[in-house]
Every structure is written in structure tokens, then in C-alpha cells.
């Protein structure tokens, strides 16, 4: 197993991250990960999304380990 995290994203976030799945170097927690993503993909600052780790929506700093499942989920308005 390599020292990377896989991030899945949906909706307009795939434009910003360039793909629906992304591998990034492992970070110790979710705050560090967000810092890294915002640096790499500054357009993320202009859009709204929530983060899930291991299929739970997180709002606070969460410890990440190898194999943590991360997703970035934007709100959709269309009907």
C-alpha cells in the first residue's frame, strides 16, 4: 500500500480538481489535507462543499489513516 489518500469528488468539484478521483500524499488529519488541497486547487475557495471521511460527514479536525475514504460533496440545486 502506498502512502497516498484517494479523494472522490462530485459535481462542479470535478472541474476544479480535474477528475472525479484524485490521489494525494497522505496527511495526518483532515485540516492538513484541506490546507494542501486549497493550495493546490485555489478555486476550491470559491465554491461550497462538505467533506466526508469513512462515509461520515465531518465538521471538525479528523485523524486520517491509510485507507481513509475521503469525499468532497457540493450542494446541487437542479431539479
Amino acid at each position: 500500500m502506498t502512502d497516498t489518500l484517494t479523494i472522490r469528488c462530485f459535481g462542479q468539484l470535478t472541474d476544479i480538481l480535474g477528475s472525479a478521483r484524485l490521489e494525494v500524499p497522505i496527511t495526518s488529519d483532515s485540516e492538513e489535507l484541506m490546507h494542501l488541497l486549497l493550495k493546490e486547487y485555489p478555486l476550491l475557495k470559491t465554491t461550497r462543499f462538505i467533506v466526508s471521511v469513512d462515509r461520515k460527514v465531518i465538521r471538525e479536525k479528523t485523524v486520517l489513516t491509510r485507507g481513509s475514504e475521503i469525499a468532497l460533496l457540493p450542494p446541487f440545486s437542479g431539479g
Binding site: 462530485f10 485555489p42 475557495k45 462538505i50 460527514v57
Partner: protein
């Protein structure tokens, strides 16, 4: 006679282990309100009607348009120009005359929502805008009615069931402002997508009514038609929610939902202000549409697509005006630009309504 015809009509689900007569009876006694009869509303309504939900209410104030027909499969060419509610009731009632269907061609607002929702056991959110979605989730929480939520964008969609104290505000406590999240008119939607999502919503609806299976209670299902990737995440109560959510009928009725999602008006200019502004010196006009979008502007401007704008320095300009097709991307452009050019804040504008709102003399095809 009627019993026999009902038996025949629902035979294939009556013989299902775990469904049967008892579940069918629960459907017959259920009252469901479907808010929005568009991309999501059509499949939800067709399924609830086919399966025999006893009483269905439909709310939509829209009219059937040609651009609806690629995804709103309840309507056909003969319905263009008709109220969606009128066309929907006619078709659905023909599909199943054994159920009651009523409709209202109105806009559901916080003035009429509590009274309208009261009668129903369950509400289905098939709307297409954030002000109505936040209003509905607040209303259902106050009335303790289960809400089936669904939403789509381009190739992706979401479904959730909100009851037992979890609402949409636990996902996104505050509404995004206009332009922050593109809608179907602006971003497009693959025809089949709302049908997939609407069918899942209908299945959740049937399961809530009959009690079979597992529902997406307090869970958000997200699906991508492009990759077949899907994900179910658990939503937990957000501490922020209480601050934003009206706690009583009085507070609810006093809310201004459209304003919650409104754009900061100070960054938007209208076409008259625009015409005056472009006559000034030291003004930079930037079209943020993709290079192949028409019509072209025939006034002095730069063309920088939105995704190339991040981090770009525009210092040295006195006033910057962004323009796009309809005035949504240009609002995002203002936000992006304010961030990288703090000295320009207050002097960056977006043309409300975009090129669509401008006089023909400013355009060439």
C-alpha cells in the same frame, strides 16, 4: 369490480414477498405532496401514480417548454405552453384513475407552505432552487413531516430522507448565494440523470410509506452517471443549524428566503449602469465565457475564461467589469478577483443578466 381491477393493476407487487396487500393498503391511504413537476417531479409522480399512492398533490407554477422534453418524460409536444400541473394531472389520471390527484399552479413560499403541507403525510422536494429547498426543509422540520430530498447537476445527483431531526441544514447550514452553485439552465443536465435520481426518490417514498427495506434516513446518497460512482454518507446534527433555522411558525413566516440566497447587490450593475460605465476611461471589461460561446461582444474587452482567472493580478485597473452569458459566472468572477486583488475591492462589478440582457448593438454573431 373495483377490488378486482385493483388486484389486477397491482398484482406484480402484491405477489412480492415483504410487500403484499398490507403495503398496498398503506400506499392507498397515503397522502404525498410533490413540490416541483420538472425533471425530478416527472419520474416521482409517474411512479407514485403507477404504484397506487392514494392521494397525490402537485405544486408547480411552470409551463411546459420545448427545452423540458429531453428529460421531463411526462410531457409531449402537445403540452408545450400548458401549465405543467394541468398536463401532469391529465396524463397521470389517465395512467391510474383509481387514485386522487390534485394540483396547484402556485409558487410555494413561507406564506403558504405550512397550510399547504399540513394535509400531507410526506413531502417530496423536486424543486430547482435553493430558496425553496431551504424553505421546504424548515417547514417539514417544523411540521415533523418526512421530506424526500433530491437534486441534480450536470451528470451527478443526490438523494436524502430528512426526518427525526436531521434536515438539509445539517448538510449545508446556510444557503449558497446565487451564482455560487450553477443551476440546470446554466450548467446543463443530462436528460436521463433526473430520471435516475427521481426514480430513487420514488423508491424512498414508497419505503417510508410502507415501512419496507432501509431508507436513506439522515443519509446522503450521491451518484455520478458518468462513472457509476456512488456514495452514501451519514449526516450528523450540525451545531450551526439551530442558529439558522426558524424555531416556530412565526419565525418561519417572518423569514426572507429569497434574500438568504441573494447576491450582494453592491457587486451587480444593470444594463443602464453598464452602458454608462463602459464609456469611462480606465475600465477593464472581461468576458469570462469559454472561447467558443456566442454572441461575441463588439465593444473593447478581454476574454478570460473563468477557470483561468484564479490568482490573476488586475491591479493597476481602476474599475473591472465582468460579463458572461446570464450574469452568474460573472458573480463568481468578482469573488475570485476580489480575493487575489484586495486593493480593487468595491470597484469590481458583474453585469446582472449578462450578455442576454444587453442591446443587440453590443453583439455580433
Amino acid at each position: 369490480m373495483e377490488i378486482n381491477s385493483s388486484h389486477n393493476r397491482y398484482h406484480r407487487q402484491l405477489i412480492l414477498p415483504g410487500f403484499g396487500k398490507e403495503a398496498q393498503e398503506k400506499l392507498r391511504n397515503a397522502r404525498v405532496l410533490v413540490v416541483g413537476a420538472g425533471g425530478l417531479g416527472c419520474p416521482v409522480l409517474m411512479n407514485l401514480t403507477g404504484m397506487g399512492v392514494g392521494e397525490i398533490g402537485i405544486i408547480d407554477n411552470g409551463i411546459v417548454e420545448l427545452s423540458n422534453l429531453h428529460r421531463q418524460l411526462l410531457y409531449d409536444m402537445n403540452d408545450i405552453g400548458e401549465f405543467k400541473t394541468t398536463a401532469a394531472v391529465k396524463k397521470l389520471q389517465r395512467m391510474n384513475p383509481e387514485i386522487r390527484i390534485s394540483s396547484q399552479s402556485i409558487m410555494l413560499t413561507n406564506d403558504n407552505a405550512l397550510k399547504t403541507l399540513e394535509y400531507y403525510d410526506l413531502v417530496v422536494d423536486c424543486t430547482d432552487n435553493f430558496p425553496t429547498r431551504y424553505m421546504l426543509t424548515d417547514a417539514c422540520w417544523l411540521l415533523k413531516k418526512p421530506l424526500i430530498f433530491g437534486a441534480v447537476a450536470r451528470y451527478d445527483g443526490q438523494v436524502a430522507v430528512f426526518h427525526k431531526n436531521i434536515t438539509y441544514r445539517d448538510l449545508f447550514p446556510e444557503p449558497p448565494s446565487e451564482g455560487e452553485v450553477p443551476n440546470c439552465n446554466e450548467a446543463g443536465v443530462l436528460g436521463v440523470l433526473p430520471n435516475i435520481i427521481g426514480n430513487i426518490m420514488a423508491a424512498e417514498c414508497i419505503k417510508v410509506i410502507t415501512g419496507i427495506g432501509e431508507i436513506l434516513s439522515g443519509k446522503l446518497f450521491t451518484y455520478s452517471a458518468l462513472t457509476n460512482d456512488s456514495l452514501i454518507v451519514e449526516i450528523n446534527a450540525s451545531a450551526n443549524k439551530k442558529l439558522q433555522q426558524p424555531q416556530s411558525a412565526g419565525e418561519f413566516e417572518a423569514m426572507n428566503y429569497p434574500a438568504l440566497c441573494a447576491t450582494r447587490t453592491e457587486i451587480e450593475i444593470d444594463k443602464d449602469q453598464f452602458e454608462k460605465l463602459i464609456q469611462q476611461k480606465d475600465i477593464l471589461l472581461i468576458d469570462v465565457r469559454e472561447p467558443d460561446e456566442v454572441p461575441q461582444l463588439n465593444i473593447h474587452h478581454k476574454r478570460i475564461p473563468l477557470n483561468e482567472l484564479m490568482g490573476m493580478s488586475l491591479e493597476g485597473n481602476k474599475t473591472v467589469v465582468f460579463i458572461c452569458q446570464s450574469g452568474k459566472r460573472s458573480i463568481r468572477a468578482v469573488r475570485i478577483c476580489e480575493e487575489s486583488n484586495p486593493a480593487l475591492a468595491g470597484n469590481i462589478f458583474s453585469l446582472a443578466g449578462g450578455i442576454n440582457s444587453l442591446h443587440e448593438k453590443f453583439k455580433t454573431n
